[in-house]
């Protein structure tokens, strides 16, 4: 469905020295520098898959999405979606895709929400009966009824995002691009939106590319992850692959009545952990220790801890994906 080969995008950027003097200098002698935002990225997405596209801020995710949606032209490389090249035949290509940029809106700011859908209906040439059915469906999934007559500028962020997603789905696109669709939303709205995306993916076999910083989105929606950093591919695979590859982190949680348990235990000194491999959090009588089980096996860690202090309750957990990603981002930056 989506083939991306060796995609690359360069920008020119004006470098400015700090302060007013620097600005003045840049005014007369602009100093340009080439910035490589996306550097040789390739991946494929089969039909009906939800792909999680992640990476730290500034990794180049949005630039890739913009190239895939035909907004930017790649410096080199190729992307083919639905058999079409977005850069060549934009008007025809965008007919088959839906796009949501969480930080922008495609809704008509000063008009009642309903008008936007009316305009979109004409733009995409959706016939009347289909339009009615589709609106009923979207209304059911995203619950638009209560604010469909309000001007868009008066909507809350959660309402606006639901309305935006509905707008991107009105013409039943084959591919849906969601660039941070849950940014700034509360837990309930996030849940609604995730459910809606999942439902539409299941119902219509829509291929979805999802970028987000909320890893719960990814865990709930997609099996597959592509991670990029500094414009380069860092990881491409399923979540379980990610866990087995990088997930040697375990989380040890125990309750103790020993005072200053972390000082008494002194894991770092005892096992010789480096900074990255261990972190300890104390909360009242509860202590949470995250450590790299490649450096010290779980059994050794357990017996050492149990022997050193008085333990009331203890448990060991796999690290969640968030921890893995955190470590990955830190290592790369």
């Amino acid at each position: 469905m989506i083939y991306v080969e060796n995609l690359r995008k360069e920008f020119k950027k004006t470098i400015k020295d700090p302060g007013v003097i620097g600005s003045l200098k840049a005014l007369f002698h602009p100093h340009n520098e080439k910035v490589i935002a996306v550097d040789d990225i390739s991946f494929n997405v089969p039909e009906g898959e939800v792909m999680g596209f992640i990476g730290p801020n500034g990794a180049g995710k949005s630039t890739v999405i913009k190239m895939l949606t035909g907004i930017l032209t790649p410096t080199s490389g190729k992307c083919t979606i639905n058999g079409k090249n977005p850069a060549e035949d934009r008007k025809n290509y965008v007919r088959e895709i839906g796009v949501v940029f969480g930080q922008r809106t495609q809704l008509w700011w000063d008009l009642p929400l309903r008008e936007t859908y009316g305009v979109l209906k004409e733009i995409y040439e959706v016939p009347d009966d289909k339009y009615k059915k589709r609106m009923a469906f979207l209304n059911e999934v995203l619950d638009l009824e209560s604010f469909i007559t309000s001007p868009v500028r008066t909507l809350s962020l959660g309402q606006r995002m639901r309305a935006d997603i509905a707008a991107s789905l009105l013409h039943s696109p084959k591919v849906l691009f969601l660039d941070e669709p849950t940014i700034g939303l509360d837990v309930v709205v996030k849940d609604n939106i995730r459910n809606a995306i999942e439902y539409i993916n299941k119902q219509e076999n829509t291929t979805v590319i999802l970028t987000t910083h909320d890893l719960a989105d990814i865990e709930l929606l997609s099996k597959r992850i592509v991670m990029i950093d500094k414009g380069k591919n860092v990881f491409d695979g399923t979540i379980s692959e990610l866990k087995s590859k990088y997930g040697q982190i375990r989380e040890l949680h125990f309750e103790t009545d020993t005072q200053n348990a972390d000082k008494v235990l002194a894991y770092k000194e005892h096992f010789g952990f480096v900074d990255d491999d261990i972190s300890i959090k104390t909360e009242g009588t509860g202590v949470q220790v995250r450590f790299n089980s490649e450096v010290v096996p779980v059994s050794e860690m357990l017996s050492y801890t149990l022997g050193k202090i008085n333990i009331n309750d203890i448990s060991v957990k796999d690290a969640d994906i968030e921890e893995i990603i955190r470590r990955l981002y830190k290592r790369e930056v």
Partner: protein, 272 residues
């Protein structure tokens, strides 16, 4: 063609609704223009009084009054905010929201603005034309209104609007290079104001400048429609100037298409 109209008609509708949303803004804008119009009336009045002659470069004071108010009417009818809108969309990156739709970028602007304009045209044209005609009748003692002249004026205004629209679009694309357009837009408005005869009639200029300016696209904006309304052109002259208008429409239409192609290849979307 019919299909195209169906797609773009909602933009007219939306533009009209947008215009009615900010009624106060619209009202103050028109009021500001009217005040400016009276300022130039009083300036020319002073000029004629101190000059002592009845005519100045072929203009009598009553003709000057008609000229000022017709210029005001024409510039309001043909005004186009394309430069500002495109500049803003490029500056804040919202241009990408138009690009993800299967529609022509220029056409959405055109139809949205036409919608915006409907209100202005409906409200302004009758009182202003009536006012100008009453002035002319009082000054000359007989009714000057000529329905054919008026219709030609309207057609000429449509051409002028299209020239202005596509010219502004072309100018707006400069924002792809310089990112923020406010200063450049101010400069452009000043220059166009002078070159289109809005500030002073061309007959007040040296002969060679007058001839040169008449061929520039800017004369086709305000000057030609006003001259047509005032009955200054007739026969082949009329045909020539309207033909020139049509020529400039086509030139700027083509140029805007070309620039759009070039610009999108080098597009760099700001923010997010």
């Amino acid at each position: 063609m019919k299909r195209k109209l169906r797609i773009y008609f909602p933009f007219i509708n939306a533009g009209l609704q947008e215009a009615t949303t900010y009624r106060a803004n619209w009202f103050f804008m028109i009021l500001g223009n009217v005040l400016g119009c009276f300022v130039s009336y009083f300036i020319w009045n002073a000029v004629f009084l101190s000059g002592g002659n009845d005519t100045m470069n072929g203009f009598t004071m009553p003709q000057m009054v008609v000229y000022i108010f017709l210029m005001f009417l024409t510039s309001t009818l043909i005004s186009s905010g394309g430069t500002y809108d495109i500049g803003e969309e490029i500056r804040d990156g919202s241009i990408s929201m138009r690009m993800i739709k299967p529609i022509s970028y220029n056409s959405t602007f055109l139809f949205q603005e036409l919608g915006n304009k409907i209100m202005t045209v409906c409200i302004l044209i009758i009182p202003l034309v009536l006012g100008v005609e009453i002035c002319r009748t009082i000054f000359t003692g007989e009714i000057q209104f000529n329905i054919i002249g008026f219709l030609l004026y309207i057609i000429s205004c449509v051409f002028a609007y299209l020239i202005n629209f596509f010219f502004n679009i072309c100018f707006g694309f400069i924002a792809f290079v310089i990112k923020y357009l406010w200063g450049a837009n101010m400069m452009k408005n000043c220059i166009v104001g002078f070159l289109s005869g809005t500030m002073i009639p061309f007959t007040f200029l040296p002969d060679f400048l007058e001839k040169l300016f008449l061929f520039l696209p800017f004369a086709s904006l305000n000057y030609t429609p006003v001259m047509i309304y005032m009955g200054m052109y007739s026969g082949t002259e009329l045909l020539f100037y309207m033909g020139l208008q049509l020529f400039w429409v086509l030139v700027f239409w083509g140029l805007s298409k070309l620039l759009w192609r070039v610009a999108t290849k080098h597009l760099c979307v700001q923010g997010g």
